[in-house]
């Protein structure tokens, strides 16, 4: 079974600065996807960024980027120019890619415990 570990229960950063959230995972699969989701107090999970394991290039989405180290099974999220609206719980998640082309398989997400990000004004 796959596991996802987020070792930072809470992180704090000054507004406009850069912060990195850590995530490690364990899997025996070679084909999979990794995600970072943001969960504000409203509870709705919002996708921040995703990475396909077969892609060597790190994903970026505006101020958000990842450092994907496949051999080390590490998937960290970097938030640049932090804004007050970035304050939330951040969850790292894993999804198998086994059924990507056959379809219809069990592909629920495995989540870490989350990191609470605080933005200091």
């Amino acid at each position: 079974a796959q596991t996802v570990t987020q070792s930072q229960p809470e992180m704090s950063v000054q507004e406009a600065e850069t912060v990195t959230l850590s995530c490690t995972y364990d899997t025996s699969e070679s084909d999979y996807y990794l995600f970072w989701y943001k969960q504000p107090p409203s509870r709705q999970m919002i996708l921040v960024i995703r990475q396909e394991a077969y892609k060597q290039q790190n994903a970026t989405e505006n101020r958000f980027s990842v450092n994907f180290q496949k051999a080390a099974k590490s998937f960290s999220l970097k938030i640049s120019d932090s804004q007050l609206g970035d304050a939330a719980m951040y969850f790292c998640a894993y999804r198998t890619g086994t059924f990507e082309y056959s379809g219809g398989g069990a592909d629920g997400l495995t989540f870490g415990k989350g990191t609470h990000l605080i933005i200091q004004p």
Partner: protein
């Protein structure tokens, strides 16, 4: 495009009572998931549907939890009887199963139902 709809937003019940949650996925999404998120933890998958069939229910406590998606669209998750440890947020998510769709592997979440069992 409307998102994943869930109701109710909050529910308070006493232990041993029954409760049901409803989810309507994004239009056209064949795959629907129910997750349980206990306070201080990440969500845990309870059950996955593909259209109206169950794909994965390995983590569903079947002695008290049940779920259905009869017409392959909306879904209901039921707990009967509820225990104190069932207090959690229940999240519903959906994804598209269409091959070649860019967002095929992305799960979109609803706002969840917060259940308090007293």
């Amino acid at each position: 495009e409307a998102g994943v709809a869930q109701s109710p937003r909050y529910k308070i019940i006493e232990k041993r009572q029954s409760v049901a949650f409803w989810c309507n996925p994004i239009s056209g999404h064949a795959t629907l998931y129910w997750y349980q998120q206990i306070l201080g933890q990440g969500p845990k998958l309870l059950i996955q549907f593909q259209n109206n069939g169950v794909v994965d229910d390995s983590q569903l406590p079947k002695d008290r939890f049940s779920a259905e998606r009869l017409k392959g669209v909306d879904s209901t998750l039921k707990i009967q009887p509820a225990k104190l440890e069932d207090s959690a947020v229940y999240l519903c998510a959906s994804s598209s199963s269409l091959q070649g769709v860019e967002a095929k592997n992305i799960q979109y979440f609803g706002a969840g139902t917060r259940l308090s069992v007293l």
